[in-house]
Amino acid sequence: MDFGFTEEQERLRTEAVEFARNELASDLVARDAESGFDRELWRRCAEFGILGSNVPTEYGGQGRDVVTTVAIMEALGYGCPDNGLTLALNGQMWAVQEPIQQFGTEEQKERYLPLLISGGYGAHAMSEPASGSDTFALETTAEKTDGGYVLNGRKTYIGLAPVCDVALVFAATDPTVGRWGITAFLVEGDASGLTKGGNQPKMGLRTGPFGDLVLEDCFVPDSARLGPEGAGASIFTNSMDWERSFIFASHVGSMARQLDDVIQYARTRRQFGEPIGKFQSVSNRIADMRLRLETSRLLLYKAAWLLDSGDAAQLYSALAKLHLSESFVASSSDAIRIHGAKGYVSEYGVERDLRDALGGVIYSGTSDIQRQVIARLMGV
């Protein structure tokens, strides 16, 4: 067992941190306040090779393994405090590009992977008004017709929906058999009958747009189907293994950045004639933040190692998702306490992390659902 990065991985991480600091640190406080998505930052990430890191070279990617890609995404989060941007990047990479890589036909891979990794936008559209945690109770339908399918329904809270070039949409081709009648489709952003909703204001992660996708008699050709009819639930479950494992990769980097910040602050801020870090209530919090960071890293890279080996990772992806999301909330809250009022005002960006972190205990399956998955997979 080796817990170290290779020299090459260290180099890539250093480059990612530098890139993030130099290219992605623009007017974040203002963009957060106005929920502004900056397409230019997305383009720079694509150009730097972030989106294509794990995509095979024949589709224009860098063809890196999962561990290396996750290491880069962690470094990106360390250098880039824009959690809305890094979440959107991770969402597209793990929940849109990865399923296309795994289940797409050659034609689909050639059509969508180069587009997405060069700065296009991909959405993963499962949630609906009446089916959130109960995903397979979805009501969107896909009726077979000559040469294709007609889709009808509404998808809600979808990351990148307002700007998407392609959406991975799950719909019922046979509503009488529940999860066994769900099929996955790649719906193009300009498909007739698809309406992309506007950017819905939210508590945190404001720099990553999200909203509804409405399908009204939206025709897609047979070639838009991803995988066989009725395999949509399994494709979705597989895509969740990836998303839950790695969507927090950059947030682990954020936790490392938070830790550096609070250590620095605890050393320099003085009260009662001493640096506040000398007070055990403060230093205990910092120790807990370090512990959360280390345990989060262990789970993140264990999941990456499992998926690199081609092993089933559902249990580990649920463990990672639960622990990383809750840790980010707890550490963001600790960072505010340590900074006092400076942590609470918007100007310094400390409070933004907590607002961003809270979304993580909801998306990709709530913490309650992850606990259920973990218990059930252990045979409870």
Binding site: Q102, F103, F136, V177, G178, R179, W180, G181, G227, P228, E229, G230, A231, A233, S234, I235, T237, N238, G310, A312, Q314, Q372, V373, R376, L377, G379
Partner: protein, 83 residues
Amino acid sequence: MEHAIVRFVNEELLGGNGPRVTADDEIVLDGTVDSLGVTRLVDFIETEFKLAVPAQDVTIDNFRTITTMAAYVRTRQESAATT
């Protein structure tokens, strides 16, 4: 093969409680085995019969009953043997 799967469902998934399933019951459609149960069933099949079950093969045609699951496993094993 059917026996091994029936035993797994009855003893592991259903914990030895309640009505016992048979190889021809439509256990994934009648609610006996739910979504997470399907995941465990797929894990069991992969480990027990030493084959990888890709997500696109987890369809109702292959998983309707234990009999169809066993038929799927046999087809996969035969095609592996001939390649």
